[in-house]
């Protein structure tokens, strides 16, 4: 797996713990949503930087209540046709003002990256073989948008009231 942030591949500095794995002495860790639920007291005492891996079936309002605890939230795309995490991402950003890393994990397509980014996802965990040379171009294929989203970019219905775009 490779972690992509912005327009480049970076080293994943996080340790992703199984539910039974011991908490390492140092370094940022992620745990599953259920482990965090059961042991959040211990986890917060032991780990300075904590992240959580959330299934896309968890009600986003529940995650929202806890966002201040996390520096990383990993959302799940069990298959590229399952779009629940798009809404989770937007609500975490727009409503709960989550400002940490929002990471896409699982099975998704290069062609969904821009949608994900617009929903507030800013990191992508992808298999190394998936990173083709045109991978990063996916984030810029479209640069005009018809609706507001978590990226706060201008949208056309409002933009055209002001001025025409530069040719």
């Amino acid at each position: 797996m490779v972690l992509v942030k912005g327009d480049r591949a970076v080293t994943d500095g996080w340790t992703h713990l199984d539910d039974e794995a011991e908490i390492p002495a140092e370094g940022p860790i992620t745990v599953s949503w259920s482990r965090w639920h059961r042991h959040h007291d211990v986890l917060h005492r032991s780990a300075p930087l904590l992240g959580v891996r959330v299934p896309n079936t968890v009600a986003v309002a529940e995650i929202g209540l806890a966002v201040s605890n996390f520096s990383l939230i990993a959302l799940s795309f069990p298959s590229f046709t399952d779009g629940r995490a798009f809404s989770q991402a937007r609500i975490l950003r727009d409503r709960h003002h989550y400002a940490g890393e929002l990471r896409a994990t699982g099975n998704f397509l290069r062609d969904q990256l821009q949608f994900m980014q617009r929903c507030g996802i800013d990191a992508f965990e992808v298999p190394e073989r998936a990173i083709t040379e045109d991978w990063f171009a996916a984030l810029n294929e479209i640069d005009l948008f018809y609706q507001p989203a978590a990226d706060n970019r201008p949208w056309i219905l409002r933009q055209r009231l002001r001025s025409a775009p530069n040719p």
Binding site: D82, G83, F115
Partner: protein, 550 residues
Amino acid sequence: MYRYDEFDRRFLQERVAQYSDQVRRRLTGQLTEDEFRPLRLRNGLYLQLHAYMLRVSIPYGALSANQLRMLADIARRYDRGYGHFTTRQNIQYNWIKLEDTPAILAALATVEMHAIQTSGNCIRNITADPFAGVTAEEIEDPRPYCEIIRQWSTLHPEFSWLPRKFKIAVSAAIHDRAAVHVHDIGLYLRRNEAGEIGFQVLVGGGLGRTPIIGKVIREFLPRQHLLSYLEAILRVYNEYGRRDNIYKARIKILVQALGIDKMRDAVETEWSAMDHTPLDLQDETVAEIMQHFAPPAYAPPSEDDDARLSAALAADPAFALWFEHNVAAHKVPGYAIATISLKPAGKPPGDATAEQMDLVAELCESFGFGELRVTHEQNLILPDVRRADLPILWRRLDAAGLGTANAGLASDIIACPGLDYCSLANARSIPVAEKLSLHLAEREHEIGPMKIKISGCINACGHHHVGHIGILGVDKNGEEFYQITVGGSADRDAAVGGIVGRAVAAEDVNGAIDKLLDVYLKTRTDGEDLPATYRRVGAEPFKEAVYGAR
């Protein structure tokens, strides 16, 4: 009608480039078919029984003459010289090559057209009353709102990977010509007591194997909240809609499971929690879009208009018949709305040849303002014909095989492509429609308004559930049979038809329909349509007529 500005044009160029690159990656093997499939679907490209099918979007059924000429050109250059107009007011081509699709989309973009979201589990083409903006019986022109929804839904980052497809219909008229009740979201434009414009919002309607009539989730939604409320509904659906079973994934199943009251609570809770200010429509935004739909320069009626029309009606009974059925009242004196039937007896419903499209393009310029509409009943509309021009228009249409006087009658049948094209179908639809329309053409004027709808499988693309008479193709051990329903309606009194009895063989369809029609003619009271008769007398007389007394 809506014309693209620099934003729309640039966006569409970017989108064509994006799709073209997806095709390139598929052809070079970088994308597997599994990966490519949802991408091509979101661009209207299906793999059917014999070839790819491309469905081109016609937003709320509105077309310009030049756009229609381009559709004709594509039919000639890339297909077999014809196209098929669909129940989503779109057009589809059935013999397309994958390699040609980037060029087709580039060509479409030159006339401000595309195939975005005509398929896939996303928000589909917005449909609307094809008489929008010209009928006297509407509250306000709904097209600006359709256009606003179209733009908002285009490549929506959050709602492009829904549990299932999502269809929105809009109407502002007394008569529902958009089947609003059988959409995932239905919007009836209305005014509140203060005279403000808003919408009655319906949710959870749909056809397919579980036909459900939509329920009211909000009696009056002020227009400025249109988009935020749609987002709230979509968000609840995206989170809670089922994804474990494709047949239970539409929003209607969620609404049915929760009940409309709990669904309303969920949507209202989401709507109050979200910040609507970014999405709230400002008056200037609506006004800006409305400018595109400003009425054209209608000419005042001249004194001898009516005399010319009356003379033609008296002189030519064939024209008089067409006038009676295919011409509707216009809101501007001296003008009429003309329906061009794509249902000549014995021909596939909704098909038009490239030559016919070219002719209609010319006619909508000569007899109108260069615009036309596609109906969900698979016909074309000339929205602005001077009444005095109707006789000559009809002669031109008739000479091209487009003058069939059957709009709204029994041979004006909706039919899906069926097993002749479609990989989902269980049975053929087109030959059944062809034989039935030939058979009924003689007596349809005696019958009066009658909506017959045929689907070749349970997915119900032919809307059979809401036909006054519905015909559903089923497969029984490799043989095609047809199940018949009666009493359905897609109008304001929307209802799902009742099953008459066991399915009949293809050769028995015409006879069974005759018997149903006999019962209706014998039983109806003055002005009563078939759904009304059915509501009054129930299914029994119809069952007895087809299958005998029990």
